[in-house]
Amino acid sequence: MSELLEINDLDVEFPTRRGTVKAARGVSLTVKPGEVLGLVGESGAGKSTIGNAIIDLLERPGRVAGGSIMFEGEELRGRTEDEMRKVRGDRIGMIFQDPQTSLNPLLTIGAQLVETIEKTTGIKGSQADDRAVELLEAVGITEARARLKAYPHQFSGGMRQRVVIALALAGDPDLIIADEPTTALDVSIQKQILDLIKKLCRERDLGVIIVTHDIGVIAEIADRVCVMYRGEVVETGPVAQILGAPNHEYTKSLIAAVPRADQRLHRFTSVDYIEGGDEERRRIDIQTHWLGEARSKPSSEDAIEVENLNLSFTLQKAVLKKNRKMLKAVDNVSFTVKQGEVFGLVGESGSGKSTVARLIAGLYRPDSGTIRVKGTDITTKPKSAEAVEARRAVQMIFQDPYSSLNARMRVMDVVAEPIRFYKMTSSEAETKQIVRDLLDHVGLGAEAAIKYPHEFSGGQRQRISIARALASRPKILICDEPTSALDVSVQATILNLLKDLQEELGLTMLFITHDLPVIRQMSDRIAVMRHGAICEIADTDQLFAAPEHEYSKHLLELMPRMDLLGTAAE
């Protein structure tokens, strides 16, 4: 079969004030009709740049500096804007990441479809309407004709992404470039969209390039895979070979960092290519250090007891009670966490798992129910001295490493804040020494203290957050999606760090995530949440082996098939 798209030696440059950044270097790849090529890499790998370069929509001031892009036997480089416009939409379709922002909010779906159909195919008037209906039906939207008059905001996220796909198909293109098409969607919808793309690819003999950071997506949909690292393609091959028996060192470490749903590993194997590997960590001696003085001794007490917790948010205010729209964010939730245990809360977005975490951390107050931390009630009298003291033992690590640190404070002041506020040391010199020790211990190095947060990468910032949490000498650590904003290899190192800390300090941990493989690696017991309520609480292995609740089964089925991965060495 001849190649649909053939890229040879492509160089893409972004001139910046600190010199030219080569976003892609000597990239070569091919796509055949009816084939899904997965372009995978972590942030900064240059994978999105390739997609934009093909249709000549690089963000300024980026430019293609060398190489060739042959599409259906013709060179795409060096074409005029008018010529490229005939290629875009007509012959190459594009799907973007976020369906919330990809559609014009002020025009109906029909208007946007008809406009695109008229431009790309020349079909006009009511025939264009008919064609729009056909397209919507092809992407699985029911009552398509009536939906033509609807505006984007009247669709759910998944439906919008279907509309986006319909728009990309409007010109009957031969190649579709999908840039992280499911990253903004929930797991259950992700699966549907991927199935749809795969189906369209087979039915219409389309070439598809899926750009993604997610190995799960690749395992699910790709036929062949290109692995990119720092602007270069390091390895290309059939999906089974890349995932099961990678050749390149980078691919190996990437695959090793992917959390497994099928077995629990003690730690992730750390490999050279990963930022901040464990080798550099200068650990402190917990036995003798300030930090270790307050560590928990093993015991069978309950660290957290949650009873019949309820919380509603007002969606729409109104004077009359019956007109108010309320969202039951937390619905009669009860569970207990033993001391030294890692308790997982898992669910899709909107399941209330983060709200429960914030209730325990004292960021929200419940409508009803009680929370006891180490036996002390912190809900009935939240301002009482005992409650305040008990809550000090609870610290939290947040999701977004870019917003969880005050950009105007040096790392020293960020980490030292709780120590200084509670006067936990006898002198400022001691405080500073402790902060430096903590930074060493989380793998940043004491030099980090004098820098500002923006000088660090996402993973490093998450380490600062961890150091700040440790500075309060907590007994209980709440981790709210601590790695979901990070690349998979960085995620592995952060999860390793959290595991280590949990063990050495005897921490009780509440681990919240939407990611089943991650929670399998971290937790002893798991609660599955949906619509604010807990569906099932079970031991981790039990849950993954034999889920009882229907929803747990459903979630586990949606998990990307990872059976292509070989058995990783411990």
Binding site: P418, F421, K432
Partner: protein, 312 residues
């Protein structure tokens, strides 16, 4: 936090040079020219007693015989009066320098008043929320229903009416500052509140709450420093507007009295002689005012672009 590390790896100067804002400044000729003009203007007006050839408030240096002289280069001009003299025989250059000083002072004072008031109310409003927020923002909304300059005229008018006639001129300058400052605050409050709402939802503020810090400390140490960027932009543009507002009030005869003229008062006085062809009495103060305001605006314009993360 007086935390001075012993060995600063990148020095403060290197940090500054590495800063995007500094870089944007160095690469924007408009911004550099604006900063230079603003700086020159401010230095010139504040050193007026040193560099002005005459003291326009010293009767011994003023002679009515020298009144209404054209600029030095025009026919009938005298070399010691570079920009000519006004109707009372005061040297134009000197009156402009002294008048400019008053204009700049009033502008800065008014902006500071509006900023302190607006930012504190805005941050409190945004962080506390609930009824406090509703009350403060409703007041701001109602005030914004009345156009700024009208309100300034009104507050100024009331202020003057309340004062006894004898001290009216003496206190005129404070009344003007009060009028402009009180007119300004809702802008600052809105911006500060908007920024606070964004910041308060960020996880570093939640982290501070989990640590157990009290609200006032969170507002002061965490939120306030992070709202300053947009506030700074508003303050710069606000300074330009405040200088214009003072000039406008004075031009309308509502502001600074002619005995200690500001730029606006000078233009008002000169305007009466415009039809008789004595153009310089209006022209030079007007140019001085426009150049000053333009430079500040240019600076504010660049700042808005440089501090907007979306544009970078």
């Amino acid at each position: 936090m007086t935390d001075q590390p012993i060995n600063i790896t990148p020095s403060r100067w290197q940090r500054l040079k590495d800063n995007d804002i500094y870089w944007s400044f160095i690469n924007s000729p408009g911004a550099m020219i604006a900063a230079a003009i603003t700086l020159i203007c401010i230095v010139a007006v504040f050193s007026a007693p040193l560099i002005a050839p005459f003291n326009p408030f010293d009767p011994s240096q003023i002679s009515l015989w020298d009144g209404k002289l054209p600029p030095a280069w025009a026919e009938g001009g005298q070399s010691q009066y570079l920009l000519g003299t006004d109707n009372q025989g005061r040297d134009m250059l000197s009156t402009i320098l002294y008048g400019g000083r008053l204009s700049v002072l009033v502008g800065i004072a008014a902006v500071c008043l509006g900023m302190v008031l607006g930012v504190s109310l805005g941050v409190i409003s945004g962080y506390i929320g609930g009824a406090t927020d509703a009350i403060i923002m409703r007041i701001a909304d109602v005030q914004l229903t009345i156009p700024g300059i009208l309100l300034a005229i009104l507050i100024n008018g009331i202020g003057r009416a309340v004062l006894p006639i004898e001290v009216r001129d003496e206190f005129a300058i404070y009344v003007v500052i009060l009028a402009i400052g009180l007119t300004d605050w809702p802008q600052f409050a809105r911006v500060a509140r908007g920024a606070t709402l964004v910041e308060a939802n960020k996880e570093y503020v939640q982290a501070a709450r989990v640590i157990g810090l009290p609200s006032w400390l969170i507002m002061l140490r965490h939120i306030l420093p992070n709202t300053l960027r947009p506030v700074l932009v508003i303050a710069t543009i606000g300074l330009a507007l405040a200088i214009i507002a003072e000039a406008t009030l004075s031009f309308l005869g509502q502001g600074i009295p002619p005995t200690t003229p500001s730029l606006g008062t000078l233009i008002r006085v000169g305007n009466e002689y415009l039809f008789s062809g004595l153009w310089w009495i209006t022209f030079f103060p007007a140019i001085a005012l426009v150049v000053l305001v333009f430079a500040v605006n240019l600076l504010g314009d660049w700042m808005r672009d440089a501090l907007n993360p979306k544009l970078r």
